[in-house]
């Protein structure tokens, strides 16, 4: 930020009060998606669209995981269903990978746009008010987006390492979604990290859900008054849904199911040598 001296560069105006240039000229011509993304409003649009994708993801992620309450087999079956989506049109796991690629792209675009908008805002606000600010409309959610976003972003990496890659979960067994989850949340620190991250997520998506209507220019007197209510409801639904998982594990509502684990281990061929896989052979019909 030090490279721009706001007062030094002045526009070609002969007036007695030259106008400082803050962000430099944005009017370079190029192909429209790029040029659009180069503008602040374009980046906000990208944040909103990628935000909608990520919101859809967190909602369905939560809804899908509710199957944990129906038992290990239901949840694992759901996991398998995801891998088999659109089979036979696509081979197994292809659809899931397409979704993952889409979400990863949305995730990184969201972060990149946020990063460069933050830089733009920092350039525009070189100096704080010496006497402080008294915010009237801005709430905790809107002012903490950067921090809740960073918390959620870092948590996503941990969450993947924990429950997708398994590198952060000692008892991890690929394919046994249910027991992986239970194993993970039985560790107090992990549960706490999860709870904190989900509260941050809730705050983040509350402002995000309201804000995206503005950024996309979705504005209509018929639904304007519902935007905040919708955002509140959506954020509450996702957050409460997600928080039930660690709480249920810690409260013993959801318990480990070793039989299911063993079955998965046998089916995926990673059974330890002392496990008798024959017992599971006729379970699946």
């Amino acid at each position: 930020m030090d490279e721009e001296d706001p007062v030094a560069a002045t526009q070609q105006d002969l007036s007695s009060a030259p106008t400082p240039v803050v962000n430099g000229r944005t009017k370079r011509r190029s192909r429209w998606p790029l040029e659009f993304y180069r503008s602040g409003i374009g980046k906000k649009w990208v944040m909103a669209v990628s935000g909608v994708m990520l919101l859809g993801y967190v909602l369905f992620h939560m809804l899908g995981n509710l199957k944990v309450y129906f038992g290990a087999e239901d949840l694992n079956h759901y996991g398998e269903w995801l891998r088999e989506l659109l089979v036979p049109f696509f081979p197994r796991t292809v659809t899931l990978w397409l979704l993952r690629i889409g979400l990863t792209a949305a995730f990184f675009l969201h972060i990149h746009a946020a990063y460069s908008l933050t830089r733009m805002n920092r350039r525009a606000t070189p100096e704080r008010y010496a006497g402080g600010r008294d915010y009237v409309a801005a709430n905790f959610a809107s002012r903490s987006m950067r921090w809740t976003g960073i918390i959620v972003g870092l948590y996503v990496l941990f969450h993947l390492a924990d429950l997708t890659w398994g590198t952060a979960n000692p008892g991890y067994v690929r394919g046994d979604t249910y027991n992986n989850l239970v194993n993970s949340f039985e560790r107090w620190p992990v549960a706490i990290i999860y709870i904190v991250a989900n509260l941050a997520l809730g705050i983040h998506i509350f402002h995000g859900t309201w804000s995206l209507f503005q950024s996309l220019g979705l504005n209509n007197p018929r639904f304007n008054e519902w935007r905040t209510t919708f955002a509140r409801g959506f954020a509450a639904l996702v957050t409460v849904g997600n928080l039930t998982f660690p709480v249920s594990v810690l409260a013993g509502v959801i318990e480990e199911e070793p039989r299911v684990r063993e079955q998965v281990q046998c089916e995926t061929g990673v059974a330890p040598p002392d496990l008798d896989c024959a017992a599971f052979e006729d379970v699946e019909g």
Partner: protein, 641 residues
């Protein structure tokens, strides 16, 4: 100074055809030559902004100067009520001729007929222009433009944009100007105050300015100079004018030879919020439109301390309706102001300082419903409540007259050119169209008429013969001397080192002017002012204290220059008022009134515009008369009964 030519140059022919014929007769500048002419426009209000934008659009090299930080801040922005135009959209008998007639009559027969006719003529073009620019005038549900009636007129011809008509019209002009600035056709000089006109060989050839941020004194030369610098109501200190409004540009031009006409014609607006204490820095206007639905009254009994709601109908004196049954609360401003003043002077005022009268919406709320009143005036009611902490929906407003507009100004001919060739003057700064009293909603009309539709024809008529002539270089002696005198004055202010602030002197001057040359004037009061002003001025030059330096933003220094000019102007106003042995419009001489206390004009001796020439400091000003002839609107005593 006796060689000053006072030729109004009104074209011959029937009044309806004068302007069209004259437009044809005036010389033209071909499009490819226009860029070779440099025109300076000082002031960016309705008149200046519109003129700069239009001349830029035509292709002239225009330089627009404003002491504000943006052209959009000129005081035209504060006009509330509306703008007149003879569109006759309401089908109630309006016409160009009627607007012309009403304006001449409303001006108490002290305006030039040909100018007023032209004003009425182009009024219809102004509305077209503004609507096309996106000015959001009030509309009816059918989508067509709405009109209302305004003080002093019996037809609905006033176009309005809520209570912010001036703002919306100025933004229209500002946007047009901004477009030209963006295109490079107009160069703006914000935060730059004009401090002198440079005259060489009898022609205006440029100006000297001070950059208010850096203090730099600079010269700018041009082929023609347009002054559109507004009125001088702030000579009274307390007025509805913005704090920075001043006479400096016009006055310095006056001292360079331009005649100043009818300086004593000042308009006192009847509906302003009364002052609340001695620290009051300005008075706030409540739009005249309020009188459409508000009724002015005072308690019949002296010293009635009851709350207004407790005073029964029978014990209220609806003073305007009583005095003027035909026009009632809608009489012209001068008439309403004087009626209110008479009652307050008699000790019948209301409010804690007994310095106002009630303006009551109770009857209208009963008749039309609160929602209608809210839709019409809500922003004004809110503003009133913010200032007074009283809710006008629950109790009547209190109002009192305040200085609002100055009809006098630099003398100009039909082409808006002063007697100094190359120096034009437009808008409130000139004297031309309103005579001794301006009708409501006519100021915006005049500013835009001058800027959009008159100067863009008449300035080229002056420029055309100058084709090929270079501007006078700014190192010419005329510029060097003007710069030197400006610099000297600035240094002088800083070096006095006295004890009193500029505001102190300004307030004192204002008191003298208001007490002696305000709503009612007499020979004795004017003589008193004429002796007091020079004494105060002398003290000013001895005991003024201006702190800070001349090299950066120094608001005290800016004010000092303006107040110095107000002293000289104030004196001239009093002399003009003293010489005009009659009462007309905004000029009311106690010696000249009817038995009922109405103004008595003296058409035999004073049917002229008094144009004063500067003869030097401390010298008697030279009077030049432009006789006014009324061929169309016959001289008659105004009656609004």
């Amino acid at each position: 100074m006796s060689d000053v030519q006072l030729d109004p140059r009104v074209p011959a022919g029937p009044i309806q055809e004068k302007w069209d014929q004259h437009k044809f007769d005036m010389k033209l500048v071909a499009p490819h030559n226009r860029r070779r002419f440099k025109v300076i426009v000082v002031g960016t209000g309705l008149a200046g902004g519109a003129a700069a934008a239009t001349l830029g659009e035509l292709g002239y090299d225009v330089h627009a100067f404003t002491f504000h930080d943006s052209p959009r801040r000129a005081h035209s922005i504060a006009a509330q009520g509306g703008i007149n135009a003879a569109k006759n959209y309401k089908g109630d008998g309006d016409s160009i001729y009627r607007l012309f007639y009403d304006t001449v009559k409303g001006g108490d027969f002290r305006a030039r007929e040909a100018n007023v006719y032209r004003l009425a003529q182009v009024s219809v073009d102004i509305i077209d222009q503004c609507v096309a620019q996106g000015v959001p005038f009030a509309r009816e549900y059918g989508g067509l433009l709405d009109n209302r009636s305004f003080g002093g007129s019996q037809v609905s011809r006033t176009f309005y944009a809520r209570g912010q008509t001036g703002q919306q019209l100025l933004l229209g002009a500002y946007q047009a100007l901004a477009q030209q600035i963006g295109k490079g056709a107009v160069t703006t000089h914000p935060r730059t105050e004009m401090l002198d006109v440079v005259v060489k060989d009898g022609r205006a050839v440029g100006i000297v300015t001070r950059n208010l941020h850096t203090g730099a004194i600079e010269s700018h030369s041009a082929h023609a100079v347009v002054l559109a610098t507004g009125g001088y109501g702030n000579v009274f200190y307390l007025s509805t004018n913005a704090k920075a409004c001043n006479v400096t540009a016009a006055w310095r031009a006056h001292k360079k030879g331009a005649l100043f006409a009818n300086p004593c014609f000042t308009q006192i607006h009847p509906t302003c919020i009364p002052a609340s204490d001695d620290f009051q820095s300005k008075l706030t206007l409540m739009s005249e439109s309020l009188r459409n639905d508000g009724r002015v009254w005072i308690p019949e009994k002296m010293d009635d301390t009851r709350a207004p709601a407790d005073i029964p109908e029978a014990e209220r004196d609806y003073l305007l309706e009583r005095r003027y049954p035909a026009f009632g609360n809608l009489v012209p401003r001068d008439i309403a102001s004087r009626a209110i003043k008479l009652e307050v002077d008699a000790g019948r005022g209301v409010g804690p300082l007994k310095n106002g009268v009630y303006l009551d919406f109770g009857a209208s709320v009963d008749r039309l419903g609160g929602d209608v009143i809210r839709a019409r005036y809500d922003n004004l009611f809110e503003m009133y409540e913010r200032i007074t902490d009283e809710n006008p929906y629950g109790q009547p407003m209190r109002i009192y007259p305040a200085v609002h507009y100055t009809m006098g100004g630099l003398w100009v001919d039909y082409e808006l050119q002063t007697n100094v060739p190359g120096l034009f003057c437009a808008g409130e700064a000139n004297f031309s169209d309103h005579g001794a009293n301006r009708l409501g909603a006519s100021a915006l009309m005049q500013g835009l008429s001058d800027g959009y539709f008159v100067l863009p024809y008449t300035v080229p008529n002056y420029l055309a013969p100058l084709l090929g002539e270079a501007v006078v270089p700014t190192d010419d002696r005329a510029f060097v001397e003007a710069e030197r005198s400006v610099r000297q004055q600035t240094e002088r202010f800083l070096s006095i080192g006295g004890t009193k602030t500029v505001d102190h002197f300004h307030r004192e001057l204002g008191r003298i002017m208001w007490d002696n040359c305000g709503m009612a004037r007499s020979e004795a009061s004017l003589e008193k002012a004429i002796s007091e002003i020079p004494a105060l001025e002398e003290e000013f030059w001895k005991d003024l204290r201006v702190l800070g330096s001349a090299e950066d933003l120094n608001q005290g220094l800016e004010k000092a220059g303006r107040v110095a000019d107000f002293f000289e102007l104030g004196l001239l106003m009093c002399k003009d008022a003293l010489h005009r042995e009659e009462s007309c419009g905004g000029h009311f001489r106690l010696e000249h009134q009817t038995e009922e206390g109405e103004a008595r004009r003296n058409d035999d001796d004073f049917a002229y515009a008094a144009a004063w020439g500067w003869t030097g400091k401390g010298q008697e000003p030279a009077l030049h008369k432009e006789p006014l002839e009324f061929e169309h609107v016959h001289l008659a005593q105004r009656s609004y009964k």
